[in-house]
């Protein structure tokens, strides 16, 4: 039965096709790279959608790779939490590849097969991190994601190789810390399967080795998700990369690492353990507060569109980490919902930025002048995404921030609430500054403003890009309207019932 193979299919389809694409490129058939990759990602997306339906209807399911029973064999475990994230990754990856056909051919001339190979490997890595139920397998997939990500990001402007090398150093240290933590868990429990670990850890939870394992695994995850103050690698690596690569990696990698953190807190260690250390919750939430504020302030000081957006990611990671460490159900709900919403918002803003850069060639603010007249659809989508980042209803950004604020109030953490509102207000400035430049500048000669140069012809990005962009922007509103269903049917069941 094919329907039983969905957990493997979401990973195997891009993995196998990546080899086919590479070999085809080698033998001179460059034209097949993009269509084949689209087919693979379509299979992944359909399987991920079917998995989410199965999980919602019938509950969590376990898949044994090679039919080896867990905990000895590697288990793929799909529950409400990762079924949601899997579909999210698949949709973003498919949409991004669909949108960037022309951009890939233009930005990576002659290298389309290589780009598509790395792209598929990165998608397979992200999917694998989310679907796997084995702590060591997660490390391997983490490195698959990272290595293909480095290669994708390095194909950018002349600053990209050095920025990527710095990311590689930080990423390797982060992954090594994760691996070290898993080693300590293995010493104490003798197991690597996440569900098995969850059963064994309470028995030895008093041991300092378990605490050391927890701290090291979390430190590794924080490096990889660019959590303040470990964020320094992110802006350079993402802003110098090619647009087609950064609009895949910017929405997904940080969010997937937040998922890893939440999975470890909820399933492997359990919230009783994660939140038991005195003062740790407070420290983490205050660090998240710093991330939100510092990320937003850095974004404010940028004069380049993509660079500004990368600092917004740093700020948004603070929202999710803070929500998860508030110590209550509302905060955790907000954090998980924000993984979905922020990935979609980041996807739309980066895709819109890619679309603008496709025509302007530069992301400097002065080159964005008059873009509303030239690229009305791109700018329309960018406005929706900007409003969502700010948190204006009915866009999805409002609802996850709402849960996060409620969680902050319930926890009595007013610093978190204040920082969330402050960073949203800074987002208002950030986005309206760009709207203003793109709409009003250059100011009309006769002194009246509000009218850009009237005679500008529309010069939109390629149709595929604009169509995807509009669909994704509509998705932000649809996600917002269906927030209730997402929370009731999926997220509520992803969080253990004993958590209030």
């Amino acid at each position: 039965m094919l329907s039983q193979q969905y957990p493997a299919l979401i990973l195997v389809a891009p993995l196998l096709v990546s080899f086919v694409v590479f070999m085809a490129g080698w033998s001179g058939r460059r034209g097949v790279a993009w269509p084949l990759s689209m087919v693979a990602l379509a299979v992944t997306t359909l399987s991920a959608g079917a998995l989410l339906v199965q999980v919602v209807l019938h509950g969590p399911l376990s898949y044994r790779l090679g039919n080896w029973p867990p905990p000895m064999g590697i288990e793929y475990y799909v529950d409400h939490l990762n079924a949601l994230v899997l579909l999210l990754i698949a949709v973003v990856a498919l949409g991004n590849l669909l949108a960037n056909r022309a951009a890939i051919a233009r930005d990576y001339p002659g290298k389309e097969p290589v780009f598509c190979t790395l792209y598929l490997l990165a998608v397979a890595g992200h999917m694998g991190i989310v679907v796997t139920g084995d702590a060591f397998n997660l490390y391997v997939l983490l490195e698959i994601t990272a290595l293909s990500g480095y290669s994708l990001l390095a194909m950018g402007n002349r600053r990209a190789p050095l920025a990527t090398l710095r990311y590689l150093f930080m990423g390797t240290v982060g992954a090594s810390f994760y691996l070290l933590g898993v080693g300590y868990l293995y010493i104490m429990t003798g197991s690597l399967n996440m569900l098995d670990l969850a059963r064994l850890i309470p028995v030895v939870a008093g041991s300092p080795a378990i605490t050391a394992a927890f701290v090291m695994i979390m430190a590794g995850a924080f490096v990889k998700m660019a959590f303040f103050p470990l964020h320094a690698w992110l802006p350079g690596a993402y802003s110098n990369a090619g647009n087609a690569a950064s609009s895949l990696i910017a929405p997904l990698t940080t969010k997937v690492m937040v998922y890893v953190m939440i999975r470890l807190m909820l399933t492997v260690f359990g919230t009783d353990f994660a939140w038991s250390t005195p003062g740790l919750n407070q420290t983490m939430v205050w660090l998240a507060v710093a991330a939100m504020v510092v990320g937003a302030l850095y974004a404010l000081s940028q004069r380049d569109l993509k660079k500004m957006l990368t600092f917004i990611i740093v700020s948004e990671v603070g929202y999710m980490v803070g929500g998860a460490w508030l110590g209550n159900r509302l905060g955790m709900t907000g954090s998980i919902l924000h993984i979905v919403n922020d990935a979609m918002m980041t996807f739309v803003v980066f895709l819109a930025a890619g679309s603008m850069l496709y025509r302007t060639g530069s992301g400097r603010f002065e080159s964005l002048q008059g873009l509303f007249a030239k690229m009305p659809f791109t700018m329309g989508a960018f406005v929706i995404a900007g409003l969502s980042m700010i948190g204006v209803p009915p866009t999805c950004g409002f609802f996850s921030k709402w849960y996060l604020v409620l969680g902050g109030i319930q926890a009595g953490h007013w610093g978190f609430v204040a920082a969330l509102i402050l960073s949203s207000l800074i987002n208002v400035v950030l986005f309206f500054r760009i709207f203003e430049i793109a709409l009003f500048e250059p100011f009309a000669e006769d002194g009246g403003h509000g009218h850009g140069p009237a005679a500008t012809a529309i010069a939109e990005a390629p149709a595929g890009m604009v169509a995807t962009l509009l669909a994704a922007a509509a998705g932000l509103i649809i996600l917002g309207l269906f927030t209730g269903d997402i929370v009731n049917l999926v997220i509520n069941l992803a969080i253990p019932a004993n958590l209030i």
Partner: protein, 132 residues
């Protein structure tokens, strides 16, 4: 003092060794200006963790994990886990070594690209060139 020497140092010397190696690697990654030296530091850092894993599979008075199925006189023997070194951490590290080699490859490819662009591997000089 005696407790410290026997319990903390002597019984756990493998942990001290891996921590020392890790710190050497981390120092090189932070303090060295040459990109290739930084990569060497990164590799030492990764190797430290590989050694840590390999060392935790060890047991005293145990042998390599190859089961002697027929015993000395052709009779089947029962295998006791205490007689054999735990092979699982070693198997895991085969994967980790592959990962570390792949990381090294990507890092060296990036360094090559940087060298072709800037003609130097000193990070300060490259940053100066980029800020011009």
């Amino acid at each position: 003092m005696e407790h410290f020497l026997t319990e903390v140092l002597a019984d756990h010397y493998n942990y001290w060794a891996y921590i020392a190696l890790m710190m050497i690697g981390l120092y090189a990654m932070i303090a060295k200006n040459n990109l290739v030296k930084k990569i060497i530091g990164m590799n030492i850092f990764q190797t430290a963790i590989i050694l840590f894993y390999v060392s935790i599979g060890f047991k005293k008075n145990a042998t390599i994990p190859i089961l002697d199925a027929h015993g000395a006189h052709g009779h089947e023997v029962v295998a006791h886990a205490v007689d054999y070194i735990n092979p699982l951490p070693h198997v895991l590290m085969l994967t980790a070594i592959v990962v570390s080699v792949a990381t090294l490859g990507v890092a060296l490819a990036l360094v090559l690209k940087i060298y072709r662009e800037h003609g130097t591997l000193e990070e300060d000089d490259i940053l100066n060139q980029l800020s011009e």
